[in-house]
């Protein structure tokens, strides 16, 4: 267990350093970058990635992967707007959808643990089932339903100058850090990701831990989809598509091992901020979405490279 600590801390620190340097650079280039309204906007954007990647972090730490994130996100946004149209209370809808996301994740987790289906396959299959349902309820990628008011308030209302969602995100980040570092669940999660057999022999409830990670991913993805629909003001079938990539990229940039067993949610938070700052920085160079893709790819390679060097240094 102690093996993780020296590797985890520098990786998270490096991720925040990279994010901070990028932000400083962007502010020097255009001082408006650090204006209150722009910062608020960046925080909201980062929170979408942050929530989509919250469960992904837990799943990856446990040695798995969740490829159903985009479709569960779309489910969160689309189903809430449908229920809203039917007159259901938004608060109830949000709670129900987070529970449904969690239930879908639980099914994925059971498939991975009890049926021994490889995580990639199980979550592609789950994503396909959810996509099928969304197609059935009749929202093609071209048509859009308006977003519910509750979701809009979460991303638009501010308290003490910060968007409401920033506080929610902070609360979840603190909770995730506590869960990972201070609880038996967290220790079992790292142990499972590092070496499942050893973890089982050491008495960790490996299967329960893995199922919990997928359940968290489903719940967090549904919530991220609700947030996204609130910001965009509408919902559509492919709304979650970019988050398949960015939820994994945030975890990788945050310094976690994609094989599991090492990493932290704070690293992912830094990764989400890094990706968001980059997305906002490139247009100031007149570089479009094509370059954003290229830079994202290079950042992943760079982050993984830095972490390998850091890990080698830490291991002597």
């Amino acid at each position: 267990m102690t093996r993780h600590l020296p590797r985890r801390l520098p990786a998270t620190a490096v991720a925040f350093l990279v994010c901070g340097l990028l932000f400083a650079f962007a502010t020097i280039r255009s001082p408006d970058f650090a204006s209150a309204s722009h910062m608020r906007q960046l925080l909201v954007f980062a929170s979408f990635v942050g929530f989509a990647a919250l469960g992904q972090t837990l799943v990856i730490l446990s040695g798995g992967l969740d490829l159903s994130v985009p479709w569960v996100m779309a489910l969160g946004g689309i189903q809430l707007s449908i229920w809203n149209g039917d007159g259901m209370s938004s608060a109830l809808g949000v709670v129900l959808l987070v529970l449904i996301g969690g239930a879908l994740g639980t099914v994925s987790g059971l498939g991975v643990t009890a049926l021994r289906i490889p995580p990639i396959v199980m979550t592609i299959g789950m994503g396909g089932l959810v996509l099928g349902y969304l197609m059935r309820v009749g929202l093609g990628s071209s048509t859009a339903a308006s977003a519910p008011a509750a979701a809009e308030r979460l991303v638009n209302d501010t308290i003490l100058g910060l968007p409401l969602i920033a506080y929610v995100w902070l609360a979840f980040a603190l909770a995730a850090a506590w869960l990972l570092r201070r609880t038996a669940f967290g220790r079992a999660l790292y142990a499972t990701g590092a070496n499942e057999t050893v973890a089982r022999l050491a008495g960790s409830r490996v299967a329960a831990v893995r199922v919990a990670a997928y359940a968290a991913s489903g719940a967090a993805s549904a919530f991220a989809g609700i947030l996204l629909s609130g910001y965009v003001g509408q919902t559509y079938l492919n709304m979650g598509a970019p988050y398949l990539f960015s939820s994994i990229a945030a975890v990788a940039v945050g310094g976690a091992s994609v094989l599991g067993g090492s990493g932290s949610y704070w690293g992912t938070v830094a990764g989400a901020c890094t990706l968001t700052v980059l997305a906002a920085l490139l247009p100031t160079f007149n570089l479009d979405a094509a370059w954003l893709n290229i830079v994202y790819g290079l950042v992943i390679l760079l982050a993984v490279g830095i972490n390998r060097v850091a890990a080698r240094a830490a291991n002597g």
Partner: protein, 327 residues
Amino acid sequence: MSALAASVRDAGFVLKRLPRGEWGTPLLLATLIVVDVSIQPALLDVTQIGLLIQTALVAVLLATAQTLAVLARGVDLSVGSVLVVTDVLTATKLGGLEGDRLALLPLVLAVGAAIGLLNGALIAYGGLEPFVATLATWAIFDGVALLVLPTDGGAPPQQLTNLAIGETAGIPNSYIGLALVLLAWFALRRSPLGVRVLAVGSDAERAFLNGIDVRRTKLIVYTLGGFVAGIAGVYLAASTSTGVPTAGDGLLLPSLAAVVIGGTSLAGGRGGVGLSVMGVFVLVFIGDLVAALQLPSWVATVASAAMLLIVVSLRSLPQVLARKETA
């Protein structure tokens, strides 16, 4: 009593054989074909089948590239991005406003192989996980494709289009394309390289101890995969007569699904392109059946996902049962 015991033993034998996917996949595919043909007998026609193969060929090529990576105990998330790069190059550099430059086709194919080479180098010599390396190149080359052609358009050479959708001596060229893919695979499988790929995939350490250059083998595998995915891009542009820089978005997950339904093990070293091609056609016939029954398109999506999960569960069943017995 002994007959019962024998039949139970037979059932156990059947289950044990399933993981290899040696007959389970052909049986599944044959069933789907029989049902589909009985519903729409008009399908039994050289031209109709040719069209079916034509629409499936891009998925076949991507599944082939994916299979190579999976056999070597890896994964290639960049197949879709290699496809879009060669797709837009075909639409803008080979064809386009200034006339056709078919002589550049080998260069376009070399670009696909070069991206594969980069994947292989990052994985074999850079020591990156296949998942991470190809996640990065996926993003990078999706971006490159958008730089080459920001929106749908371009004009692939007419000759390539004729080749892709035409016919030779009354046989649609798509048959020939499919046959070439399978022939190339069976040749590779029997070659020393094919043996090395399977050896590296099943146990890299043992392969190394047996004198196999593991890194070089992985480098070749991903280069070959890039080359094949590149052909898929050229074929897509040619057969649709246009370039689409985002065409790869929806193709990655189906390529993995086809490999898995076919029966190639994600743990490496077991399976093959022949199985993955069957996996592709399982998905194709599910879609075709749903269309024939005039069901809404969501049914095909749900059925494909359910098929994936059912097939994989059945394959892992013997393993799960065996574990229960020992526990």
